[in-house]
């Protein structure tokens, strides 16, 4: 199992600067994305969107004919899909406004290619996780649809907490997820004092997914900080 299906997602990229469009397109192509459409204004973006039916949009906020916030609202009217802002406006209020209107992420320019591709990958995985029934690990596969792990042909059910934790790790594949973020994913908004429970759950997950739970290769501990999930085929 790999991410090829995510790389085929149709991406709409809107920025008034041609040079920047070229660069982002080249970064995305290098990362394997194939279907990228670009636009330089709100008007053009709406036209391109109706033609290409995008599955992810990357928008600038300052556009010649209007702003990215209103473009997002118009785009979401036809279909709800993930939207990421890529803008030179770094003010906190702008970020809050973007997230408040339902943006999935907000990247302030300038940015590194890796930052952009990691975030796009995370958004796509989160938004289209149901289309990816099997996640391949070193010694097993996770079926998020059925909430189970398949190891050596054996189907092992995941508990609700184990599912939440694995999902949070999977959505950030290859990145370290902090203890706090994992506790929040499993126990909600006030995730204090669950650190020991978290360790216990991680141990149980390892028993289900790892070949040798005492020498984990897929679910790695970063001491004192968090955990990282390594996925095969990435």
């Amino acid at each position: 199992m790999d991410y090829n299906f995510l790389k085929k997602k149709r991406i709409l990229l809107v920025d008034d600067e041609q040079e920047l469009l070229n660069m982002v397109v080249s970064i995305l192509k290098e990362d394997g994305y194939e279907n990228i459409a670009t636009a330089k204004s709100v008007k053009e973006a709406l036209k391109v969107a109706s033609e290409t039916n995008p599955e992810l949009a990357i928008l600038d906020i300052m556009l010649p004919d209007s702003d990215g916030f209103s473009l997002m609202e118009q785009l979401k009217q036809t279909k709800d899909y993930p939207i990421l802002f890529l803008t030179a406006r770094g003010e906190d209020e702008d970020k809050f406004k973007g997230f408040g209107l339902g943006a999935d992420d907000y990247i302030v320019k300038p940015f590194l290619p890796k930052e952009l591709t990691l975030r796009i990958g995370a958004i796509l995985r989160r938004s289209y996780k149901n289309e990816n029934p099997l996640v391949k690990l070193h010694a097993s596969e996770i079926d998020f649809d059925r909430a189970e792990v398949i190891k050596n042909g054996e189907h092992i059910a995941l508990t609700a907490k184990e599912y939440d934790l694995l999902l949070a790790l999977y959505l950030n594949t290859g990145k370290i997820v902090t203890i706090d973020a994992l506790c929040e994913a499993a126990w909600g908004d006030n995730p204090f004092g669950y650190e020991n429970s978290l360790m216990a759950h991680i141990r149980r997950i390892r028993e289900k997914i790892e070949e040798n739970p005492s020498k984990p290769t897929s679910l790695i501990t970063i001491r004192g900080l968090g955990y990282k999930l390594n996925v095969e085929g990435k």
């Binding site: 600067e17 040079e19 920047l20 660069m23 982002v24 080249s26 970064i27 290098e30 030179a88 406006r89 770094g90 906190d92 302030v108 320019k109 300038p110 940015f111 590194l112 290619p113 890796k114 930052e115 990691l118 990145k175 370290i176 997820v177 902090t178 203890i179 706090d180 973020a181 204090f192 004092g193 650190e195 970063i222 001491r223 004192g224 900080l225 968090g226």
Partner: protein, 463 residues
């Protein structure tokens, strides 16, 4: 308003003291003048002396040498009126012609009380009659009908005191009325001056004797207000200008950073070229951090950055910052070690999440910027005296004692009003200092036990 009663008390004190001194002075003056009067000899006494000095020899009278000299020198004449005939039986040589030589009883009574032909007269008793001395016309003034109520004389001192007291009281009342009026006009002015340093808008009524001062206070307040407004406008303009510039740099810098990042990981390029791309990427990142810092520091400096304090878990913030660095560190040149006790998971502080994140990011970024060949970074968090100490160490090149001393004690050039030509250090630490001071915390830099640089942030515990 404390100064007004004080002022009144002092004024009254001065008034009472001056009244008292005035009375004492008057008594002394009266005493001195009175004494000089009596010293010159009372005319009654001279008359008695003359009577004594007048002796009878055969049919004529002779005045002693000394007394006749004294009378002559004073231009005084003398007569002796016979007891029986009421005629002048003796007189001095200098007797004016107009003086009568015969006297009736009523004449005698009159001259005893007053004058003869305008000459003040005084009498002395002689065995043969009455000696009458006539002084020059303007030498004495006599009160001819001098009689006083007995009660008045008996209570003279009481009355004197009463009159003095009355005088003082009247002066006091006049003084109070005059002063209250003055104070009434001084009061608003004093209030105005007192409020000037409070940066309040002041308007004092320009009326009364002190209207000129009131006008200048109003003017001063106006000037202060205008200056304050202009200063705020300038600061806002500066912060906005910095925000504008940093915004405009972002898009071009995106392209430099983006392409450099791409080239760096381009498999077709030679190692050397990829290294060059890495340098471009790293330096662009420094520019990015610099403009972020510049923007934030100017906002913090001019109080345009809102600080949203809430109860937050500082451990979770540090972990997130560290993990963000680790997730982005492609070359793994800067491994970060978390050497904090595993049991420390929740440490509450009252802080702004974004700003604290920024402070810790800046310190780690600082270590990365100053150690281009890579270094290990160590994060420790300990609890000490109701405070949390976050220590960020590296084993990189570190700093000299002098540099550390300077970082700890010298103001940054951004907030220093002196012209400095010395080498300037980045904004990273300045922001950390600003953020810490907004959280009632502190920053210390020093040598690390790992061999490099060490920064310790101290934050008060949320209790």
């Amino acid at each position: 308003m404390k100064s007004i009663p004080k002022l009144i008390r002092r004024f009254i004190g001065i008034l009472l003291l001056s009244s008292f001194l005035l009375i004492v002075f008057n008594f002394i003056a009266i005493a001195v003048i009175g004494y000089s009067q009596t010293a010159s000899g009372s005319p009654w006494k001279t008359a008695t002396d003359t009577a004594k000095a007048l002796s009878k020899s055969k049919n004529s009278y002779i005045l002693s040498e000394s007394l006749s000299k004294e009378l002559n020198s004073n231009n005084t004449w003398a007569i002796l009126v016979d007891n029986n005939t009421k005629n002048v039986i003796w007189h001095t040589e200098n007797l004016p012609n107009e003086i009568p030589t015969e006297y009736s009883l009523s004449d005698i009574s009159m001259l005893t009380r007053g004058y003869i032909k305008g000459y003040p007269t005084f009498t002395g008793e002689h065995q043969d009659g009455l000696v009458v001395l006539g002084f020059p016309k303007t030498s004495y003034w006599k009160h001819m009908y001098n009689s006083w109520d007995y009660w008045f004389i008996a209570n003279f001192f009481k009355i004197l005191l009463l009159v003095l007291g009355g005088n003082i009281f009247v002066i006091f009342v006049i003084y109070m009325i005059a002063n209250t009026r003055l104070l009434k006009s001084v009061n608003p002015i004093l209030n105005g001056i007192r409020n000037l340093p409070l940066e309040k808008q002041i308007h004092v009524k320009e009326k009364g004797v002190l209207s000129e001062i009131a006008a200048s206070i109003n003017k001063t307040s106006e000037i202060l207000e205008t200056k304050d407004y202009q200063l705020k406008r300038k600061e806002t303009a500066r912060a906005n200008w910095i925000a504008g510039v940093s915004h405009d740099i972002r898009t071009p810098l995106s392209m430099i950073m983006g392409y450099a990042g791409q080239l760096e990981s381009h498999a077709h390029l030679a190692d050397e070229e990829r290294q060059k791309a890495a340098v471009i990427r790293r330096q662009s990142e420094r520019i990015k951090n610099l403009i972020n810092d510049l923007n934030l520091t100017s906002k913090l400096e001019y109080n345009m950055q809102p600080v949203n304090l809430e109860n937050i878990n500082i451990v979770s913030i540090i972990r997130q910052v560290v993990v963000d660095f680790m997730n982005m560190d492609i070359s793994e040149q800067y491994p970060i070690e978390w050497i904090t006790d595993d049991h420390i998971n929740t440490c509450f502080v009252n802080g702004d999440k974004g700003l604290l994140k920024r402070a810790i990011t800046n310190i780690i970024q600082n270590s990365i910027n100053h150690n281009e060949n890579g270094c290990n970074i160590y994060i420790t968090l300990v609890e000490k005296d109701n405070k949390y100490e976050i220590q960020i160490d590296d084993d990189g090149i570190g700093a000299t004692d002098k540099q550390i001393e300077k970082l700890n004690n010298t103001p940054h050039y951004m907030v220093c009003d002196e012209n400095t030509t010395e080498q300037r250090h980045g904004l990273g630490l300045l922001i950390v200092k600003q953020i810490m001071s907004a959280h009632h915390g502190s920053v210390t830099v020093g040598h690390s036990s790992y061999g490099g640089f060490s920064v310790t942030l101290t934050l008060p515990m949320y209790l």
